[in-house]
């Protein structure tokens, strides 16, 4: 029995490694994908090995006194932030999909705009609005002689952080649930109505259960964003894990403890991803047929019309309009002082690193997504997992990993570089922007990849095969057939990544070179130095560039929807 088994095994191995298959499988796409994947995974492996180092003298102290605070702070904000974004995001998505009311068309895309506001910007703006010298208290003091209880107006605490994060992160849930509902059949809703359920009962008994995978997906993104957040928590003085990693590393210069904290965050992240998988459930609620009749919004009547508009206005107002108007006011006070050649430099820096990193991400995403769809096997499945892994790793953790990785490279190549040129310094790559761009790529590759992969999914493999049989190689097919057809997906991917990198703070703060500032770091620096007014112009630029891109994205998506004749024609 054993002999037969081992014989069979040997035969399988032979089948696996036919020279023929190796020859046909090694091409530009497979080799480049492999190289990129190795580069992406190396820093994480490198840092994991350092977990085996002995603990420093700080670690017992951190473990005994501080760790529990980090866990409670992070968990509280994650729990409430997750719950509130879920309620607001889902309810808005349903309202916009199922009903018509005044301004509902405008809200359809403008409710995405709070995504353009970085949480730390919203944080210091609301602090500026509410504090003693802020517009509200000043108005009350000067006009009504009311002196308010300061503790009621203090936003720099857990509740305040949850408020801010809910307002700027709910669009993740809103966007995902809305696009999910847009793909659902109207039959579902109408059947429920015909069976005698009220709109309210339909929402709770039909819409909510079928949207569960989308809701869970959106909330998971929100939670990952909260774990990643550094600027807001540091500004508010709340010790979450991201803040703790920074402090341990830079305050205590204790790298080993910082790595340990990073490892704990990663365990939390993995638990959340696992939970997400479990909660999405085994059931798949999506339709395979593309010939569905989408849900048609019905006109709301009477008081409901007003309430719906009011609800959307309140969220839009707090999430986007109020902070933007406040920032505009501050910008008017400070533009003479701020707008100078130096400032243009920051703008240029921002646009330059963001564009370079975004282009690299889009190219890598196309490379791996195309290779993974051509060769569907276990290896490409692993590639896909690794590609999207970075987005679930908080910025502070990636920063630690990438910096150590580059310092190690510099140390290990020092001798060689010395041999080539005597002027070589010990630190070479780790003092250049290569390091920052590399970190951006690891962190945001998943965003670009998801968008481009779904573009490939949409067109399927038929055109690719037809082109091959008409005599075109994989690469020629890519440029002549695939690329023109996935253009909308590439544009979406580019925009989503661009916005995220433009807003990014923790990676940029740690990995930037000396005296290198972007709009984000400058805004944060001003705010942190209690110069909130001076932070306004950088913040506004981030918001306006991102908002414009969200608008373009929305146009691109609805155009893509109308032009979606590819698959079935």
């Amino acid at each position: 029995m054993f002999i037969i088994k081992s014989y069979k095994h040997k035969k399988d191995v032979n089948d696996l490694f036919k020279l023929r298959d190796i020859k046909t499988n090694v091409n530009m796409w497979s080799v480049l994908s492999f190289v990129v994947i190795v580069l992406i995974i190396l820093p994480t492996l490198n840092i994991s090995l350092k977990l085996l180092n002995e603990t420093s003298e700080n670690w017992p102290h951190i473990k005994e006194y501080l760790l529990i605070d980090y866990i409670i702070n992070t968990a509280t904000i994650v729990a409430f932030g997750g719950a509130f974004t879920m309620i607001i995001g889902t309810s808005l998505a349903w309202l916009i999909t199922a009903f018509k009311f005044p301004m509902s068309k405008f809200f359809k895309w403008s409710l995405l705009l709070p995504l353009a506001v970085p949480p730390y910007v919203a944080g210091f703006t609301y602090h500026g609005i509410l504090n003693y010298t802020g517009v509200i208290q000043t108005f009350l003091r000067n006009n009504t002689n009311i002196n308010v209880n300061q503790s009621l107006f203090n936003i720099m605490n857990h509740k305040g952080a949850i408020f801010i994060l809910t307002l700027v992160l709910y669009p993740y849930v809103f966007a995902i649930v809305r696009s999910f509902l847009a793909k659902q059949s109207a039959d579902l809703i109408e059947n429920s109505r015909v069976l005698g359920k009220s709109p309210m009962a339909t929402f709770f008994k039909v819409v909510l259960p079928i949207s569960r995978p989308a809701i869970v997906g959106g909330v998971s993104l929100v939670i990952l964003e909260i774990l990643n957040e550094y600027g807001l928590f540091n500004y508010f003085g709340i010790s979450t894990f991201s803040v703790a990693i920074f402090r341990t590393w830079f305050g205590l210069s204790d790298l080993d403890s910082a790595i340990r904290l990073a490892a704990i965050v990663m365990i939390m992240v993995l638990m959340i991803l696992l939970l997400e998988k479990l909660m999405r459930g085994r059931k798949r609620y999506s339709y395979t047929s593309s010939k569905i009749r989408p849900i048609q919004p019905i006109e709301l009547k009477g008081i409901k019309r007003i309430l719906a508009t009011l609800y959307c206005s309140v969220i839009f107002g707090f999430g986007f309009l109020i902070p933007t108007i406040q920032l505009l006011h501050w910008a008017l006070l400070t533009y003479r002082e701020i707008l100078n050649v130096k400032f243009l430099g920051y703008l240029y820096n921002s646009l330059r690193v963001t564009t370079i990193a975004t282009v690299i991400i889009v190219v890598i995403s196309i490379l791996i997504a195309n290779y993974a769809r051509i060769k569907e096997n276990i290896l490409t499945k692993i590639y896909t997992r690794i590609t999207i892994l970075g987005y679930s790793i908080p910025g502070a953790v990636i920063a630690v990993a990438v910096m150590i990785f580059f310092i190690d490279i510099d140390n290990n190549t020092y001798v060689i570089r010395q041999a080539i040129s005597h002027n070589s310094t010990r630190l070479f790559l780790s003092t250049s922007l290569v390091m920052l761009i590399f970190a951006y790529v690891i962190r945001f590759l998943g965003i670009g990849y998801n968008s481009i992969e779904s573009g490939f999914d949409k067109i399927g493999k038929g055109y690719f095969e037809a082109s091959r049989l008409l005599g075109m190689s994989v690469t020629k097919t890519f440029f002549k057939v695939d690329l023109p057809m996935i253009k909308p997906a590439i544009i979406s991917g580019f925009i989503l990544v661009f916005i995220d990198i433009l807003k990014e703070l923790p990676l940029t703060m740690i990995l930037r070179t000396f005296n290198f500032h972007t709009l984000a770091t400058k805004a944060y620096q001003y705010a942190n130095d209690e110069m909130i007014h001076q932070a306004a112009i950088s913040s506004l630029l981030i918001i306006f560039i991102s908002a414009a891109m969200i608008f373009v994205l929305n146009m691109n998506m609805s155009k893509g929807g109308r032009k979606n004749v590819y698959k079935n024609k």
């Binding site: 049989l469 008409l470 057809m485 004749v565 024609k569």
Partner: protein
């Protein structure tokens, strides 16, 4: 023999049973062969193996005395000189009819391409649709263009995957006759896959009946379908 397929074996990754089992079959030049079978019999897989879109576990395929695949050789699909009409036609939506047909004509001069495009469009009777986009054509018209596109580079073998499945029933008889005529005129060795014995009877010189990946009958269409 012009096309020699011997001992072909194939299994999809997630399947527990082999999809194709010891498939051996030869075709002479210019013959029109139908592979007949129910869905899941592996008939489309044979086409994909011939085209080079799948790699067999075992077995060889030779076309015109050239080895396309065996244990040591695998000729990439674009180098096989095999044309295929896909079930859903796969006409490139961002190209006009003319551009679609020109796509496969790589080794020709501009004027040669123009002549060839007109030739094949004449053959399928679609000359006046040259500058249309695929979505501006009906299902039957799309199929003709897909056929013209596949024939244009003068493939040594033409494969047709369920050529009639996406068409209205009342059109089928007419299109069968048209296809038969076109294939005869073009004189290309062809294999088409179908689950409708009427198709086989109308067009094929020879029929291969496939069941669960194995050949159970080979012969002339009227002989094979005589009993039922």
């Amino acid at each position: 023999m012009y096309i020699k397929i011997s001992n072909l074996n194939f299994k999809y990754k997630n399947a527990d049973k082999p999809t194709i089992l010891d498939f051996t079959f030869n075709i002479s030049k210019g013959e029109v062969v139908s592979i007949f079978g129910q869905s899941g019999s592996g008939k489309s897989t044979i086409l994909r193996l011939l085209a080079g879109l799948e790699t067999p576990k075992k077995g060889t395929i030779e076309i015109d005395d050239k080895v396309m695949v065996d244990d040591n050789v695998f000729v990439l699909p674009e180098k096989r000189g095999v044309g295929m009409v896909f079930q859903d036609y796969a006409l490139f939506p961002h190209m006009t009819v003319e551009e679609n047909i020109k796509f496969g004509l790589t080794k020709m001069s501009k004027s040669e391409k123009k002549i060839r495009v007109d030739e094949v469009l004449n053959l399928v009777g679609m000359k006046e649709f040259k500058s249309r986009y695929p979505h501006e054509l009906s299902g039957g018209q799309q199929q003709r263009i897909a056929l013209a596109r596949a024939i244009a580079p003068k493939p040594s073998l033409l494969l047709l995957d369920e050529p009639f499945s996406n068409l209205d029933a009342d059109l089928q008889w007419k299109i069968r006759q048209d296809l038969k005529e076109i294939l005869e005129k073009a004189g290309i060795t062809s294999i088409f896959v179908t689950h409708d014995k009427e198709d086989s009877l109308a067009i094929a010189d020879k029929v291969v009946v496939l069941e669960k990946g194995e050949i159970i009958k080979i012969g002339k269409a009227n002989q094979i379908f005589k009993d039922n």
